[in-house]
């Protein structure tokens, strides 16, 4: 058996195990466990697609929350029934034709992705005229602009009231299906000639140009692909929490994603997956630090936001002491695993 067949078999086996685990949880898991698993999958999708731009292209893009917002709103507006929309939009009615359209969940997710991609395309020209800190500031600005627009465009987003009572379509199958697809597709992209061109831009943009790589074209490609999956994940998120409003997807969300990809290792998809899973799990598990604690002699009142403090400390520790994060720029692969196992058995 050659290694590529072996690797393919291993991958199929892993997916089968994942499917079995999801099946068990979907059937017997508590609501709490299912929520954590859904969060994990969505954060994996978000982190892996964010990492494509920040990790592989070496661009400091600070506006993924804009794409998530657009995906979430688009997808939500498309799955609500006309009657629900009429009930929700009490201050100003929703504009036609959105007011009468209703599509299946899958279609709404793709539409969310496409809407986010379209927006990314529109802002790409100003964004990629600059680099470094300037690019970070421009993208940060667009993230804020989208939030403000969501507040202001009553007849499209229902303003500060947001959209409530969405059908909870997001099951484990949907969230993990999207996560697996995203990881596979982005891994293939990153390992292709296109991915090499992106890494070359990250390493030395001048040299990359001299070798015939068009930086704008490749940064745009990464940016659009990343926006698409962020948009889809936004749709999943909307139909998981069933209520969305402009305050939900602030820079705070971007900051969380930044923590995830830095801790995972900028430029490592496996790192992003591991860190996203840890983050989603840790985010729930660490709720205890926000509840009142009785240390016997003293009772600490619950401090909301304590988890974020912890995450920020983790980020600082990683940046100060382990800048390459969990995985650095390397990836987990079957080849590496088997090599490691072989060494183990020999030793």
């Amino acid at each position: 058996m050659d290694t590529s067949t072996r690797n393919a078999l291993c991958t199929i086996l892993l997916l089968a195990v994942l499917a079995a685990v999801l099946y068990v949880f979907q059937k017997h898991g508590t609501e709490y466990q299912i929520r954590i698993l859904n969060n994990m999958a969505i954060f994996i999708t978000l982190a892996v697609s964010y990492n494509l731009v920040n990790g592989f292209c070496g661009i400091l893009h600070l506006g993924p929350n804009a794409f998530i917002t657009i995906g979430a709103y688009t997808s939500a507006l498309l799955t609500m029934s006309p009657a629900e929309k009429q009930l929700s939009f009490i201050i100003e009615p929703l504009i036609w034709p959105l007011s009468v359209i209703q599509v299946p969940f899958a279609v709404s997710l793709i539409a969310g992705g496409i809407a986010a991609t379209f927006f990314a395309f529109l802002i790409s020209f100003p964004v990629f005229r600059v680099r470094g800190d300037y690019l970070a500031i421009v993208t940060l600005g667009f993230g804020e602009v989208v939030r403000v627009l969501c507040n202001a465009m009553q007849s499209l987003t229902n303003g500060p009231l947001g959209l409530k009572g969405l059908t909870p379509y997001t099951t484990l199958w949907w969230s993990w299906g999207v996560a697996v697809f995203t990881v596979v597709v982005i891994t293939k992209l990153v390992n292709s000639s296109y991915g090499r061109a992106m890494k070359a831009i990250r390493e030395d943009e001048t040299a990359a140009k001299a070798m015939g790589v068009d930086p704008f074209k490749h940064l745009l490609l990464a940016f659009l692909v990343s926006a698409f999956f962020s948009g889809v994940a936004g749709g999943l998120l909307a139909h998981l929490i069933t209520t969305i409003s402009p305050t939900l997807f602030t820079f705070f969300l971007t900051f969380n994603l930044l923590i995830i990809i830095v801790v995972g290792g900028l430029g490592s998809t496996s790192g992003a997956v591991i860190a996203a899973a840890l983050f989603a799990w840790g985010g729930e598990a660490l709720r205890v630090v926000e509840s009142p604690m009785n240390l016997g002699f003293i009772t600490i009142p619950g401090i909301p936001g304590m988890r974020m403090v912890l995450f920020s400390i983790i980020l600082m520790v990683v940046i100060l002491f382990a800048r390459r994060g969990i995985m650095g720029r390397s990836e987990l692969s079957w080849d590496r695993l088997f090599t490691a196992l072989r060494l183990q058995t020999k030793a």
């Binding site: 597709v185 292709s192 890494k199 030395d204 040299a207 001299a210 070798m211 015939g212 790589v213 692909v225």
Partner: protein, 257 residues
């Protein structure tokens, strides 16, 4: 008029400083031409204007019958002009093989979505690129280092890799900016041999900048000398060595009072 390569009265001004003034040259296919001059003479600036990193203040770059002045660098490379850099600019965190494979990227036909879906037609192209990249490395005697990180190579090998990477872009004209800088005499000699070899084997045209006089005089068939952006001499190595202005420029006689 020559159809292959011609620079026509190139001028480059940076604010008040004229870095290059009225630079003209015609290069025939297969020639090995040198560009020399003291530090700050404007040599690298000439290369930057050819490869699109700088847009000349005036003048034209003509390549195979086309005016390519001001084209973006990646487009110039795709037209068949590749270069190396004076201060090595490798993709240090990528392997030697990957460094060379980047240069093949502009030849790829399959679209990005084929890559994302891992379609067979794309995989075939990836295989082709890898095979050709390995062949390039063998040619430059770097084959055994294919899987090393470029940044971990010793200096001389890094210089060699820069040339391999530029060659992999399949140029007809190769521009080398101080390829022997920092090399020991042994490495410099090998480099001269290599440049002549690849020129002959690939029917390449080479235009190179170098401070090492022995290297330039031994290798180039024709030399141009720049001083303060002005062309002060042009001719065969022996003519250049005897040229009074060149001697003055290099001995640093205070002629620019």
């Amino acid at each position: 008029m020559n159809d292959f390569f011609q620079l026509d009265n190139l001028v480059m001004q940076f604010g008040g400083l004229t870095a290059v003034k009225d630079f003209s040259i015609i290069i025939e296919p297969g020639e090995l031409v040198g560009l020399i001059g003291p530090n700050g003479a404007g040599k690298t600036t000439v290369f930057n204007m050819i490869t699109g990193f700088l847009t000349p203040t005036s003048g034209r770059v003509l390549w195979q019958g086309r005016d390519i002045t001001g084209w973006p660098p990646h487009a110039v490379t795709a037209q068949g002009i590749a270069r190396t850099f004076q201060n090595i600019r490798l993709f240090t965190d990528m392997t030697v093989l990957e460094n060379v494979m980047v240069s093949f990227h502009h030849t790829i036909r399959s679209r990005f979505w084929k890559a994302m879906l891992g379609l067979p037609s794309h995989k075939r192209e990836e295989k082709r690129i890898e095979k050709e990249a390995r062949a390039f490395l063998e040619e430059l005697h770097l084959g055994h280092l294919a899987d090393e990180k470029a940044g971990s190579l010793p200096y001389g090998q890094q210089r060699r890799l820069e040339i391999a990477r530029a060659l992999a872009a399949r140029p007809k004209l190769l521009l080398l900016d101080e390829p022997a800088a920092g090399m020991n005499p042994q490495e410099t000699m090998e480099l001269a041999k290599l440049v002549r070899e690849i020129r002959d084997r690939r029917r390449l045209t080479v235009f190179l900048i170098e401070h090492d006089m022995k290297f330039v005089m031994g290798l180039c068939e024709r030399i141009k000398v720049l001083d303060y952006g002005i062309t002060i001499a042009e001719g065969s190595p022996s003519e250049i060595q005897r040229h009074p202005d060149v001697i003055k420029a290099y001995l640093g006689e205070p002629k620019h009072a």
